[in-house]
Symmetry: C3
Subunit: 269 residues, 3 copies
């Protein structure tokens, strides 16, 4: 299956209700991977925008009362039209507003995929623990990986969706399957927006594929491989974070199915 | 006439009410071309900010009820003070809110210039057809160019303004004149914000010139030439979208009147 | 004292309520210097987010009624918990809303540091004069430096805080001390966000240090040295503004205590 070729032929339109910190990176990441972004968050238009899209991304990074209503409305429309939805519960655990919004969304909406870092997944599973900031620690998936797989499995069963846990090793689970992906670079944690862009890229893959688990897995690998390619180029040029960001968005357009198949480091669990 | 030299001497202040996706690119594009950006969108201050500016940009890319009121107020102040206004009806055709807002603005405000892609211009002219996403297709101005010129002419007459249609060939019309510009690069469609930056750069030229048609035409050429220069550098370095974005904003500061006069590919129609 | 090493070990969490134009640069600048950003501006969560942070940044670049309430609430929480606050009164002097908001904040909140350009400081001191745009003119601190020191001193005494005036020569004062820093590059005025990033980097230093004046001074030097390093690299590559921006954020991660001590150009006054 040539998943990237198909994505680029279909050029899915991805409706993003996302935070204003990384929204430009999200749009450019979508364009680079071969999708088309549309950002709209006013309650009076989100239903129409979702209706013409191939997937919806909901990211609560800078949520507020105005956009929360839009998220709910948009997600219900997506459910009605069977449009896949990615939920990125950025910073859940850090405030009551984030916690209440995340659970309100999870109760009222059927998400296709939840993407988060380990502390966010852990919070959603346990309702305890607190996220510190919104950037993933490079090591948070090291020794505790079994615990994180378990937490992801609980969420996947409870909400009947795919769950992706981002970290040094990425975890992708649904009710039946567990896969690990070992692609990626520590440099991805040095820029803002890595997680947000991944959520968007996963929405692009979901918007172009019928097999949701396979789409999620290949999206994570594509993203990690792009990180590796960008890190190689950045290090070779003695550059750092901002250069890596540029190289990373470039790399998302360089990865094709051949590179994906050759470089993907997927483990079954 | 040394239009770029004059712009850089005058350093016009451009008040932008624009979307949060590409606002940073818009600000940096204005600085690179030689203007000064100011972003303000609260209804209680936009009148004052417009009043000290040399031009106003209204871009509805991520409009909401709060900012729509600000757009109206700001534009009326600009009309009162005879400050030129660029209108960028991003995504018009895609939702009722965008359509109603665009026509409300067109009825209540005298715009100096409308800048849009072909599907948006077509929608404004016909009130039919639907924009798909907000990024211009590279080919949308190929064979249908006569139709697009016609649509732009209708708008230009109806609203007594300059109309610029962006695409592979750019079209600039007013009631009396039609010019085509063949500068640019397909890479401009690979990043978000090309259209938004062009709207802002056109506002900068309008804010520094008395001849509105000439300003619009030279802004489009300057922008397209910058795209060509950036594409050459990007391809020479085997890089892609994000590198192109960086090279493009750099190039806006490299284009001077000599380069503009040498490289501009203008056709009269 | 190894101030940068200590900052990077502590990795302070910086809560930013800032404008949507440069928020991405602010986040990436914080990550590059070694801090962790968190952006949140909804009134119902800002108290909780401030409470888990090591410093708070309030930047009024694109203020609106919703975020002004959040700024007040957040700042009062920071005062209550003795968390340092940086105030960046972007564009004060340009509108009644900005003026009223700035003075309302100054009256209700104890800021640790005010960072601004000379025209903004001048306005705050005199309540006269008008900011033109929000980007610092390269020369505004040339011959008038004594006047700017005096204005900063008045503010520092009145509000019992450190005051930093950005320009060709940076001024850092409190009630007792005056230091000048001559690091930096004219290229910093060619991009949007230089001032905003500096405010954030100062918050990072304050969040990791007990000596507030020393933290402010070293933050300004670190920032200026990064500008010099980035300018050298940009010029060597015949590049311009956008490349400088990338090189600048890279450079923030390259500066260490050795480089800081060697390159800092500090003058006592």
């Amino acid at each position: 299956m040539k998943i990237l070729q198909h994505l680029r032929q279909k050029r899915p339109l991805i409706h993003c209700i996302t935070n204003y910190v990384t929204v430009n990176d999200v749009a450019n990441a979508l364009l680079s991977v071969g999708a088309s972004p549309v950002m709209a968050d006013d309650e009076s238009e989100v239903g129409e925008i979702t209706a013409i899209s191939n997937a919806l991304l909901i990211n609560i990074g800078t949520l507020n009362s105005r956009t929360i209503s839009s998220m709910i409305k948009s997600a219900k429309k997506a459910n009605e039209l069977k449009i896949p939805i990615v939920f990125d519960p950025v910073g859940v655990g850090a405030s009551t507003l984030r916690n209440e919004t995340a659970f309100r969304l999870l109760e009222q909406v059927n998400f296709t995929l939840i993407r988060a870092n380990a502390s966010e997944i852990s919070f959603l599973t346990s309702k305890t623990g607190g996220a510190r900031g919104v950037d993933a620690s490079e090591n948070e998936l090291g020794k505790d990986i079994l615990e994180h797989i378990n937490a992801a499995k609980i969420l996947a069963k409870k909400y009947n969706c795919v769950v992706a846990v981002s970290g040094k090793t990425d975890i992708i689970v649904d009710e039946k399957q567990t896969k690990l992906c070992n692609n990626g670079s520590p440099m991805m944690a040095n820029i803002t927006g890595s997680g947000c862009m991944l959520g968007a890229v996963m929405a692009a893959f979901l918007g172009a594929s019928d097999d949701k688990f396979e789409a999620a897995l290949k999206a994570v690998c594509t993203f990690g491989i792009s990180g590796e390619m960008a890190a190689e180029k950045t290090i070779a040029n003695n550059a750092a974070n901002a250069t890596f960001r540029t190289n990373f968005i470039d790399a998302l357009s360089f990865v094709d199915d051949d590179i994906l198949n050759k470089r993907a480091k997927i483990l079954s669990h």
